[in-house]
């Protein structure tokens, strides 16, 4: 879904330097939104997991993250329904009202604001990241996870901006399928760690803010056992 906005920002660019500055602003805006959401989710998770009543919360959130990753993967492979499309359709008028005037008038700094809006687009990757951020049990950890998600999408989006019409439809479909497979693998890894042999090592709530944030690659360890990596 981000691709459309990236291409719209890149359209009519006057030179390579403009492309670069626009993309930097766009990604910065998106990263700020993602980081903000991650910090919120992490703070929420911290509050939730500090309560012994929600001792099951960590594992549950990790499973939710894995399911979200899997759903994203299946969607890219064309094997899952159009729930995301329905949400996108419902939100489209709001996004149009926010980004339409900016993309038409293109005032200085407009890619930053478009990027901020992009950060709130519905996206299974973000859902997975939010679940992981909450499971991290810290605002810092949550912000880092979502910032990582934002960084992870940069190469693909920059390539899209730079070569929007060069990549053929067939090639794009192939790339989408490959991405789907990668996401399924990440989901499987996460699920294994949650339910595999290591998962039974005496559960204890995640330590407060000082604990290191889990890695972004999807291999989530809800027990906070960083030394296993």
């Amino acid at each position: 879904m981000c691709g459309g906005f990236v291409l719209a920002v890149a359209a009519g660019r006057r030179g390579g330097w403009t492309l670069v500055t626009h993309q930097v602003q766009l990604q910065l805006g998106k990263a700020a939104s993602y980081g903000f959401l991650g910090a919120l989710a992490g703070a929420f998770g911290s509050a939730l997991l500090a309560n012994p009543v929600f001792a099951w919360g960590e594992r549950t959130l990790a499973v939710v993250a894995a399911v979200a990753l899997g759903a994203a993967g299946l969607s890219l492979l064309g094997l899952l329904g159009t729930g995301e499309s329905r949400i996108a359709t419902w939100l489209a008028p709001l996004w149009s009202r926010v980004t339409g005037p900016l993309l038409a008038a293109r005032p200085p700094g407009f890619p930053l604001v478009v990027g901020v809006a992009m950060g709130f687009l519905p996206c299974p990757l973000v859902y997975a990241g939010l679940a992981a951020a909450a499971a991290s049990g810290s605002a810092g950890g949550g912000a880092a996870i979502l910032a990582g998600v934002a960084l992870g999408t940069v190469p693909a989006l920059v390539v899209a901006a730079a070569s929007g019409t060069v990549v053929s439809l067939g090639m794009r479909r192939t790339l989408a399928r490959l991405a789907g497979l990668v996401l399924l693998a990440a989901a499987a890894t996460t699920l294994t760690r949650v339910t595999g042999p290591h998962a039974g090592h005496g559960s204890h709530a995640a330590p407060p803010a000082s604990s290191p944030a889990p890695g972004v690659s999807g291999a989530l360890d809800p027990e906070g056992h960083a030394h296993h990596h």
């Binding site: 903000f36 038409a104 604001v113 605002a139 810092g140 803010a209």
Partner: protein, 704 residues
Amino acid sequence: MASAAATNASPLRAAPLPLCAHCGLPLARVRARPGEALYCCGGCALAHRLTGGTEGHGQAAGLLMAVGVGAFLAMNVMMLSFVLYSGRAEADRASGESWVRWALLLLATPALVLLGGPFLTRGLHRLHDLELDTDSLVVIGVTAAYLLSARSVLLGAGPVYLDTAMGILLFVTVGRYLEAASRARATDALASLARRMPADALRLGEGGEERVPVAALVGGDRIRVRPGERLPVDGVVVEGEASVSEAEITGEPIPRPRGPGEGVSAGTLNLDGSLVVEVRRTGAETTLARIVRLVEDARAGRYPFAPLVDRLVRLFVPLVLGLALATFAYWTHAAGTGEGLMNALAVLLIACPCAIGIATPLASTAAAGRAAAAGVFVRHPESFERLARSRRVFLDKTGTLTDGMPALVAIRPAPAASEREVLALAAGLEAHSEHPLAASVRQAARARGVAPVVVTDFRAQPARGVLGRSEGRELRLGRGAFVSGAPPLAEAGASVVHLSRDGEWLGALVFRDGARPSAAEAVAGLRAAGLAVEVLSGDQPEAVAATVADLPGVVASAELLPEEKLERVDEAIRRADSPVMVGDGINDGPALSGAAVGVTLESGTDLAREVADVTILGGDLRRLPWLVGLARRTLRTARLNLFWAFFYNAIGLTLAVQGRLHPLFGAVAMVVSSLLVVLNSQRLTRHPLPAGAVDRGALPADSP
């Protein structure tokens, strides 16, 4: 005949209130400034400048940049603050490197200007008018948090609450915008159709056809309307035939054939033929413009307990301010300045007087919009409450229960007269009358080639008859008692009027008027809703009995004078039945005006349409039980809104005063509370339409 304006007067129907330029809700306590649009809140001001401005994308883009950059900075302040301070006690907010605190301040200051500026500007205007509202509370709270934090950073010691200030601004800005957008959707009735009206028309003149602005048309002009074009004015077809879609005005799905001599309305769509139309009414005088005014009147109307709500809201904000000060003083004494500030902020932000203020108007306006979609136009918002409480419906017969187009089926002349003579004299009298029987007489005379006589000194006596002079002799046409010497004539199921000249009976005219196809279903629907249905007619008992024969459970009264109809209505009011009167003629005026709710049909007389609270287009009586159902649902919605608004404020303020509520949660809860009221009211815009009605909202632009 009583003056319509006097009998319709009510202290609750005072001068209409100004309306918010975005959502259209009435503004009770806003002072207008020259050249300045009026808004009910900062959210509507923001939303309107984003979507309703006339300066194209530039203005919206500038505003979006300000809000977007402000949001970017605010989010960074919150993110950094969460990372640094999350999980720590409030006292620890004094810790941290000095450069970090300065960085937060440097990010927060432009964010405060960009996001808080619109609230601050509006808040200062309201303060100047000595009026405070929720936006004022937000400004006070955010400014206090920012100034205290800035002081701490400058002095190098003390807690910092910039994340709270930024979070409040962010949530309130976004939340208010979403709320304003939802409110505007809930109150939009015919705005989309009004925007699609053609700006010009093809006028026919001596030199041929020329395209002129619609505003240049005057009565008597002739215009050509081609297939696929929308009628720009009200008029009469003089040439051509076509199917005309009235779906967007009346909700009727079936296009109606229109040919020479038939009226057409502005806003309807010519589907398949070329029409030459003679202009009758333009601009503000068209049916469409009148309907739009009705809907706007409904929005701006006052509600039965509006004065009470206004007083409550006016007192609420200063009370909340006082409570916040008291909370600050108490908690500062008990636990320190930091705790005192946070709890006082929570009190300021959790309070939501706006939810109380919009609870009822929003429900009524949303319902009025949905009713308009079904071709039912409610002029006064309090009509919904009265309809919901109603236990009795009075129906006029001719023109209401029947389609009001009785046909002249027979003429019974006296031995000394002939049918043609009776018809010529009757047509001469009826040339001056608006009564449904008059049209039938004139049509019969035209059909038989009978020229009406010239009549002077015409006078009408409602429900009795008409009289005038021809060649110096007095003519009378009316019911038996009005015309001396009229013999008793029994015509089962028919209406009979007698004609006399200088006191000598000349003959009788016999009319038959069939019930509307929707009458039986409408009456059944009203009875199923628990309402008693009674027919009040000035017509003869046989005609009334014939009309109600297929309407089980209906009580009918015949030969009633207008004042007798009013007496029945007054009796029902004394019994607290909140009676509804449905009528269309001049003789229904007093009853329409005196009833709790007066309802007329589009075909009704000018007087009926002027005094009635509700106008039903298209003549489908099934809209009436549907409207009662909508009114009951509207009352339930308004009550739920009010209950929620009071309950939320009571609980929220209690928690805030007790120090159990973080200001950020308070800001979010405040916005969510208003949104809940808006969303609850918005459900009324999806109330199922009556059988056979077309959902105008689902129609694509300019499609039948």
